[in-house]
C-alpha cells in the first residue's frame, strides 16, 4: 500500500518532489566533495582561483562528472518509468529491452567510421552527431522489439523481454566484432561504451546532453496522466480520450532521444530505469504524474551515489559505474521476475 494517501493530491505531489529535490541537492553537495582526493567545498568557494587545488579539482573534474551523473541518472529513471507504462511491463527498461545496446552499436559505428571527420568537429556538433546515430539506433531497436513482441494486436510480455535480451547480446557481439577490427586506441574507447562510464567530460558535452534530456524527459512528464489511463489497456485509454497511437509514437521518440543522448556520452549503464521507478512506486503509488518526475530525481540520486561508490571504493583506480549498477540491478531484477513475473506472464 502506497504511503500517505490512496490517491495523488497536489500536496503530496509537491511534498514528494520537494523532498526528492532536496535529497538530490544534498547528494550533489556530498558527492562533489567525496573522491580519490577529498575536496573542501568551503575552501574552493572562498578561494576560486587556479592556484587553489580544491577549486581546480572541483571545477575541472568533479563538478562536470557529478552533473553528468545527475543528468544521465534522471534520464534513465524517466525513460524506464515511461517504457514500463507504455509496454504494460514492470520489467521493462532501456537496458533490458536492448535499446541501449542498439543505440551503443550505432553510436560506435558512427564514431569509428567518421573518426577523422568527427574529430575535426568540436563540442556540441560532435556530441550531436554521435547522439543522433545513437538516437537512430535506439528508435530502430525500440520499433523492432515492439513489432516482434506484438502478436495479434497484443504485446506478449515474455516475447518482449526475450527479444530485448537476445538483441542486447547480439549488439554486444557486434560491438566486440567492431572492437577486434579497430586499432588499440579506438578499442579502448569502445570498451567504455560497453561498461558505462561517467568519466570527466567538458561542460559543453554536459550541457548538450542536458539539453536533449530536458526535451525528452519534459515531454514524457507532460504525458503522465495519459500513461495512467494506458494502464487500463489501449482500448480503454482511447475510450477515455487518449490518442494512443500519437502517445505511443511520441514515447518511442522521446525515450529514444533520452537513451541516444546519454548512451553517446556514458555508454551502457543498466538497471537504473528498472530499480528506481519500482522503488518509488512502492513508496508513493503508481500515479505517473508523480512517478515520472520522482523517477527523474530518484534516478539522478541513485546514479550519483553509484558513481561516487565506483570512483571511491577502490581508489585511486575506478570501477566502471555500469558494474556498480548491475551489481545492484541484477539481483533486483531476479527478485522482480519472481514476484511480478507470475502476474505479468499469466495474461
Amino acid at each position: 500500500m502506497p504511503v500517505l494517501m490512496p490517491h495523488l493530491t497536489k500536496r503530496k505531489w509537491l511534498l514528494v518532489n520537494c523532498l526528492l529535490l532536496l535529497g538530490l541537492v544534498g547528494s550533489i553537495i556530498i558527492c562533489t566533495s567525496l573522491g580519490a582526493v577529498p575536496v573542501s567545498l568551503v575552501h574552493a568557494w572562498h578561494a576560486p582561483s587556479v592556484d587553489n587545488p580544491d577549486y581546480v579539482i572541483l571545477v575541472r573534474t568533479r563538478l562536470p562528472r557529478v552533473l553528468l551523473a545527475t543528468i544521465v541518472g534522471g534520464a534513465l529513471g524517466v525513460a524506464g518509468a515511461a517504457l514500463q507504462a507504455l509496454l504494460h511491463n514492470p520489467l521493462a527498461c532501456p537496458h533490458i529491452l536492448g535499446v541501449s545496446g542498439g543505440a551503443s552499436l550505432c553510436g560506435i559505428i558512427v564514431l569509428i567510421f567518421t573518426g577523422t571527420a568527427a574529430a575535426s568537429l568540436t563540442g556540441f556538433l560532435r556530441i550531436s552527431l554521435v547522439s543522433l546515430a545513437a538516437f537512430l539506433g535506439a528508435v530502430s531497436t525500440t520499433l523492432l522489439i515492439y513489432r516482434t513482441a506484438l502478436n495479434h494486436g497484443r504485446l506478449q510480455p515474455y516475447t518482449l523481454l526475450l527479444t530485448g535480451v537476445v538483441f542486447n547480446a547480439f549488439c554486444g557481439a557486434l560491438i566486440m566484432l567492431v572492437n577486434s577490427l579497430v586499432d588499440f586506441y579506438q578499442s579502448h574507447s569502445i570498451l567504455f561504451w560497453l561498461m558505462g562510464s561517467l568519466a570527466a567530460q567538458d561542460y559543453v558535452t554536459v550541457s548538450a546532453i542536458g539539453f536533449y534530456v530536458l526535451i525528452g524527459a519534459g515531454w514524457l512528464i507532460t504525458q503522465s496522466r495519459k500513461f495512467n489511463l494506458l494502464s487500463l489497456g489501449e482500448e480503454s485509454a482511447a475510450q477515455l480520450g487518449v490518442d494512443v497511437e500519437t502517445l505511443r509514437r511520441g514515447t518511442f521518440l522521446a525515450s529514444s532521444l533520452l537513451v541516444g543522448a546519454i548512451v553517446s556520452v556514458s555508454g551502457m549503464i543498466g538497471f537504473v530505469g528498472l530499480i528506481v521507478p519500482h522503488l518509488l512506486r512502492l513508496l508513493f503509488g503508481a500515479d505517473h504524474r508523480l512517478l515520472l518526475p520522482a523517477s527523474a530525481w530518484g534516478g539522478a540520486i541513485f546514479l550519483l551515489w553509484a558513481d561516487t561508490l565506483a570512483r571511491t571504493v577502490v581508489s585511486p583506480t575506478e570501477l566502471p559505474v555500469g558494474v556498480v549498477t548491475a551489481m545492484c540491478g541484477g539481483p533486483f531484477f531476479l527478485y522482480l521476475l519472481k514476484k511480478e513475473g507470475r502476474k505479468a506472464f499469466s495474461r
Binding site: H7, Q84, H88, P90, S236, Q239, G241, L282
Partner: protein, 278 residues
C-alpha cells in the same frame, strides 16, 4: 417506439470488415434517451465490433453513427469520453493503482492537461463508488481484488465519466449470479432515474429479457431482428440464429420470458415426436 423516432444514438447502415472478413454489415438501429438496449448474438456475430465502432476505437468502413444529432467523427476523443463510457469484459491492470485512483481515472476527460482532481471530482468518485458498492475498497490495490470486485470498480470508473451513454461489453461475464443482478439493477435504476442510455452486449439471454427495453439480435454481422424481448426471444428466432433448440417460457414472478437450453437427448426426443406427427 419505432426506428423512425429520433434517438440519442442513430446507427445507419454501419459496416466494418477486418481485412476481408466482414464483421458488421449494413447494421441500423436507434436508441432513445434513457433506454436499455441489448445487443445479442452468437460468438463472432459482430457485437464487440459494434461497441468498438460506437466508441470510435474503430472507424466504420461504411454508413454513419450519430450521437445527440452530431456525427460521431466530429467529436474529439476527450469530448466523446465525456459523452460515452465503456465497460469492457475484463480489465487487466499490472501497476499497483488503488481503487480510488482507478475510479478517478474516469474524471480524466473532465480535467486539463496538468490537472489534479478537484474536490468535485472526488465527490463524484465517492458517489459512484457508493452506487457500485466499492466504497470500502477505496484504499485497496486494484490487483488484490476478486474479478467481481474489480469489474464493479471498472463500472464505477465508467460512471465517474458522467456519460450520457454507457456501452457495456458483457460486463458480467465473469461475475456470479448475485453480482450480475446487482450490476444490472444499478444500471437499470440509473437509466430510469437519471436518463442514462445503455447499450449492452449480453450473452445471457435471460438477463437480456429481464433488463433490456429492446433487443437487437445479430447474425454474422447483420441485424436478424429488433424489438422487445418478447418479440425477439422466440423459439424460431433463437433456432435460426444460434442453431440450437431451447425451451422458452414465461416467468410468473417477473412477467418476462425465460430461456432454457435443452440437452441432446431432449432435442432428439422432440425431433422424433415431430417426425411422428409429421
Amino acid at each position: 417506439m419505432n426506428d423512425s423516432d429520433l434517438g440519442l444514438l442513430e446507427v445507419d447502415q454501419l459496416s466494418f470488415a477486418y481485412g476481408v472478413i466482414e464483421a458488421v454489415k449494413d447494421l441500423s438501429f436507434s436508441v432513445s434517451r434513457g433506454e436499455v438496449f441489448g445487443l445479442l448474438g452468437p460468438n463472432g456475430s459482430g457485437k464487440s465490433t459494434v461497441v468498438r465502432l460506437l466508441s470510435r476505437v474503430l472507424t466504420p468502413h461504411g454508413g454513419r453513427v450519430s450521437f445527440a444529432g452530431r456525427d460521431l467523427g466530429t467529436y474529439s476523443r476527450e469530448e466523446l469520453a465525456r459523452q460515452i463510457a465503456v465497460v469492457p469484459q475484463e480489465t487487466a491492470i499490472e501497476l499497483p493503482f488503488s481503487v480510488l485512483e482507478v475510479v478517478l481515472m474516469g474524471r480524466s476527460p473532465h480535467l486539463g492537461r496538468f490537472g489534479f482532481e478537484r474536490a468535485e471530482d472526488l465527490a463524484v468518485a465517492h458517489r459512484v463508488m457508493e452506487q457500485t458498492g466499492v466504497s470500502e475498497l477505496a484504499t485497496r490495490e486494484i490487483h488484490e481484488l476478486s474479478g467481481g470486485e474489480r469489474q464493479r470498480v471498472i463500472l464505477a470508473r465508467a460512471l465517474a465519466q458522467q456519460p450520457r451513454m454507457l456501452l457495456l461489453d458483457e460486463p458480467t461475464a465473469f461475475l456470479d449470479i448475485k453480482h450480475q443482478v446487482e450490476v444490472y439493477d444499478l444500471i437499470k435504476a440509473l437509466s430510469r432515474q437519471n436518463g442514462l442510455t445503455v447499450v449492452a452486449i449480453l450473452h445471457d439471454l435471460n438477463l437480456a429479457a429481464l433488463y433490456c427495453d429492446r433487443l437487437a439480435l445479430l447474425k454474422s454481422g447483420h441485424r436478424f431482428c429488433l424489438g422487445t424481448p418478447e418479440q425477439v426471444l422466440t423459439y424460431t428466432n433463437i433456432k435460426a440464429v444460434y442453431e440450437t433448440e431451447v425451451y422458452i417460457g414465461l416467468n410468473d414472478l417477473t412477467g418476462k420470458v425465460h430461456i432454457l437450453p435443452l440437452d441432446a437427448a431432449t432435442r432428439q426426443r422432440l425431433e422424433a415426436e415431430r417426425q411422428d406427427r409429421g
